[in-house]
């Protein structure tokens, strides 16, 4: 589903590569943690998958798309197959919960009949039934992240990317978000989550890809965060 072949990313402004010959293969339906200290290259990894940026060297494939070589006009097709959530939620403050989720469908041209049907379904899936008409600022952080996840998942992407989705949340709320990610993963969606939260990784026991200074230093299934590095 996702394959990186010796991917190197060197930002123009720095001497050390943000990613250094990274090769990773993720199968369809897997749940993978991308861990490592701040600055180790996790966000860069995810940004390359989304074609927010292009690698300096190496190849990236997401489903059947050659991401780095994708012509500009095909990039939307790639992004429609990948849902993503971030630490800062990125909700539109002037739209309701339902409006935020619907927006993701409207802007890719889904008919309003589909939108009316699918939005309540996904809000129920993330546990926000009955809150469709609330504004984002009326919600707790955890609820806002659920809205973001509903928006990321509403178009049934093949892959869900989460960049430190629990970074702004307290441990209990984080646990709820993890349950939700697991639920999404059980629908067959490949989930890739960047985090440096030990307890979450330890409690989930999933595949762990560890980055350090842009290099993959560990790739282990059913793993824990590990110590000492």
């Amino acid at each position: 589903m996702i394959r990186l072949e010796r991917v190197t990313k060197l930002y123009k402004t720095s001497t050390r590569p943000a990613l250094d010959r990274v090769s990773v293969n993720v199968e369809r339906g897997e749940f993978v943690f991308l861990i490592g200290p701040s600055g180790s290259g996790k966000s860069t990894f995810l940004r390359l998958l989304l074609r927010e940026d292009v690698p300096t060297k190496g190849n990236i494939f997401v489903s059947d798309l050659n991401v780095a070589k994708l012509p500009r006009r095909r990039v939307p097709r790639l992004r429609q197959r990948i849902g993503c959530v971030f630490q800062d939620f990125r909700l539109l403050p002037n739209k309701t919960v339902g409006g935020n989720v619907a927006f993701a469908l409207e802007v890719i041209g889904k008919p309003s009949s589909t939108v009316r049907k699918v939005v309540p379904e996904v809000l129920e899936l993330v546990g926000l039934e009955g809150k469709a008409d609330r504004m984002p600022h009326e919600l707790s952080g955890g609820e806002q992240q659920r809205v973001a996840m509903a928006r990321a998942f509403v178009n049934r992407p093949l892959v869900l990317i989460a960049d430190e989705p629990t970074g702004n949340l307290d441990p209990d709320t984080s646990q709820d978000i993890m349950l939700l990610l697991e639920r999404i993963n059980r629908t067959g969606t490949t989930v890739l989550m960047a985090t440096h939260d030990h307890s979450i990784v330890d409690s989930m026991r999933r595949r762990v890809v560890e980055l350090h200074m842009g290099q993959v230093v560990r790739d282990e299934s059913r793993a824990v965060y590990g110590v000492g590095r």
Binding site: V75, P76, L78, F103, V107, I108
Partner: protein, 300 residues
């Protein structure tokens, strides 16, 4: 493409930057109003030139009683005037036009316009129309010959009227096009600026749109349509301005020469001819400016 979505985005965009939108609409309106004035001047010049190209004559109008009584220039007064003209240096030929044929020509000239309905045969003078062989001195000779001539109401050298008119219209055209150009530059900068501000205020939306895989059309079209809508509104205001201007100024300004029959008046029909041109210019310039701005200054 979801039309309702784009329409909603455009509407919020316009409302959010309402002062900017108004500035843009007004600047565009003034600019296009000037362009429209220039186009009307050009059209009037063309028409007038057409009207006179092959028949610039010196026109000797007869007095009302002669005009009314003599239909073929066989009675004494008219015949005397005619032979006097034919004997004048620099005259090539003299042709008589009675009231009825003047009326018919007038009807043809202003066919379909309100002026045609207003005029009666007896309100037009019979004329002796003098073609000159000597374009330079002939007119003056005719004028001299006709001074104090019985039965002559007045002498009009059409070229006097026409050249003054062409000077005037040409001046109007040049000034308005120059002003229009200056205003157009202001309008372009405003449109470009508004698109940038609009893109900046909507950067969060656009960010989300990009993230969920909206195509360029979806991210850019609202901005372009926003620009085009203001361009079109500007053009419509300009058309309104031209119509108002026609009734308030142009009609009275041109009334003398129009009623003389030497120049076609500016009709509502002319403004209706100009308005789609203005709308297209307004929409086109807004769209092109918007597109270039998005390409150059906004990363969507």
């Amino acid at each position: 493409m979801r039309a309702d979505f784009v329409a909603r985005e455009v509407f919020t965009g316009l409302r959010r930057n309402v002062t900017m939108t108004i500035a843009m609409v007004l600047t565009t309106a003034i600019s296009l109003g000037l362009v429209g004035t220039g186009l009307l001047a050009v059209r009037t010049i063309d028409r007038t030139e057409e009207l006179y190209s092959d028949r610039v004559e010196v026109q000797v109008a007869l007095t009302a009683d002669v005009s009314a009584s003599d239909t073929d220039c066989t009675q004494a007064i008219c015949a005397a005037v005619k032979s006097r003209l034919e004997g004048t240096q620099g005259v090539e030929s003299v042709r008589f036009e009675n009231q009825q044929s003047a009326y018919e020509r007038y009807q043809k000239l202003f066919a379909g316009q309100t002026l045609a309905d207003l005029v009666r045969p007896q309100s037009l003078p019979a004329t002796l129309r003098v073609r000159l062989s000597d374009q330079a001195a002939g007119a003056q000779a005719v004028r001299q010959a006709m001074t104090d001539q019985v039965g002559v109401h007045n002498v009009i050298d059409q070229r006097d009227v026409v050249s003054k008119l062409f000077d005037f219209l040409g001046g109007v055209r040049n000034v308005t096009f120059a002003l229009a150009l200056v205003q157009a530059i202001a309008a372009l900068l405003l449109i470009s600026n508004t698109v940038q501000v609009s893109a900046f205020t909507r950067r969060t939306e656009v960010g989300v749109m990009r993230l969920v895989g909206a195509t360029r059309w979806y991210t850019q079209l609202p901005f372009l349509i926003e620009a085009v809508v203001t361009g079109v509104i500007g053009a419509l205001i300009a058309v309104g301005g031209l119509i108002t201007g026609k009734f308030l100024f142009i009609d009275s300004l041109l009334s003398g020469i129009v009623s003389n029959g030497v120049v076609p008046p500016i009709e509502i029909a002319d403004i209706i001819w100009v308005s789609p041109i203005l709308v297209m210019i307004g929409a086109g310039i807004a769209a092109i400016t918007g597109y270039i701005t998005l390409r150059l200054y906004v990363r969507l």
